[in-house]
Symmetry: C2
Subunit: 204 residues, 2 copies
């Protein structure tokens, strides 16, 4: 079924998994090679260096990271609908990629940030017209008049943080992983209601 995955693909996939869960400094080239079932020489043969390989993985992660935002907000639904759908999709997406928000934030904060042009990714979000649409809705009194900067921040805070803090929350409440997952589902509904009610007051 797996078909003929090439050595290069095996290494890339292993790097993806290892880098995302441990970060650039948290792992070694050998660890990636082993995870791929290969040796270190091949890692450098295909990708020249650990840094180069990381850069590829990070950029792919940024693509994943902004893709879900862009897809939903670029669609033709009403703003409230988009918001609800986005939160739902984002929770589903993060259930599959729980390490992504921490990975992105941490690696963006590294001094030695790999010379990556982060900004181009965020331009994609702006290009969906999300901000213009919110501004218009605010003019019409349909949406609460708050800073446009606060809107994505409210959404991301309430979608990303809950998955980033999994370990801490399990300790705080003495939960198992299963119990945490159940709670996350309940929490999602709250977040959705709270944000919609706050951002679109008359939609009660």
């Amino acid at each position: 079924m797996k078909k003929d995955t090439t050595t290069e693909e095996k290494i890339r996939e292993a790097a993806r998994q290892v880098f995302r869960s441990k970060g650039f400094y948290g792992c070694t080239s050998r660890e990636i090679a082993n995870a791929a079932g290969e040796n270190v020489a091949l890692v450098n043969y295909y990708f020249r260096s650990k840094s180069q390989l990381f850069k590829i993985i990070f950029e792919a992660a940024m693509d994943d990271f902004v893709l879900s935002m862009v897809e939903v907000f670029g669609s033709k639904k009403s703003l409230v609908e988009k918001m609800r759908i986005f939160i739902d999709l984002e929770y589903a997406f993060l259930a599959k990629h729980p390490e992504l928000p921490s990975f992105i934030l941490n690696e963006m904060n590294r001094e030695d940030g790999c010379n990556i042009d982060h900004q181009k990714y965020f331009l994609k979000v702006a290009e969906t017209g999300l901000f213009e649409e919110c501004f218009k809705a605010q003019e019409e009194g349909y949406m609460r008049s708050i800073s446009l900067n606060s809107i994505p921040l409210l959404i991301m805070s309430n979608c990303h943080y809950p998955v980033m803090a999994k370990t801490m929350l399990m300790q705080l409440h003495g939960m198992t992983s299963k119990e945490y997952d159940d709670n996350l589902n309940i929490h999602k509904k709250l977040v959705s209601d709270m944000l919609i009610n706050f951002l679109f007051p008359q939609s009660n």
Copy 2:
């Protein structure tokens, strides 16, 4: 003015600063020694190893982390008042220690988590009686009946994430550090209003 800070204190303070901003794997013993204006031998003379030193710094960070929660929620005010005060104090606290939430979450997620008993810190939060008080308020219809697990999560999401995501937000909106700080202040008010309105519906 600085009085006689001992060598040991200088190293501890340097370690605190470096570990918090870069994490355990993100820095070296020599880097800490240099930051303290001393050499590596002294680091190990006073603290035996990098791991031992880290453990001390991490535990102090956990104290800081839960202290603000415990202080406010252990006080004698009404629940709504506590909530508003807590959010205010938390934003002020995080303005001084913006690296703390990322540091705690990241280091707790390390496999090699230094044999630290995290749980005892979170017991302190539970011991304030916060959860019982919320439960009682819910019984009385004063507070929205949501899972007790979701309450601290809503608060932390909206207090911690905004400071953790500083770099990303600056890129997303093309802001300077100063502009980010101004926005954060505006955001704090929104968060406060949103959470209070959601958790205590009749307090409008």
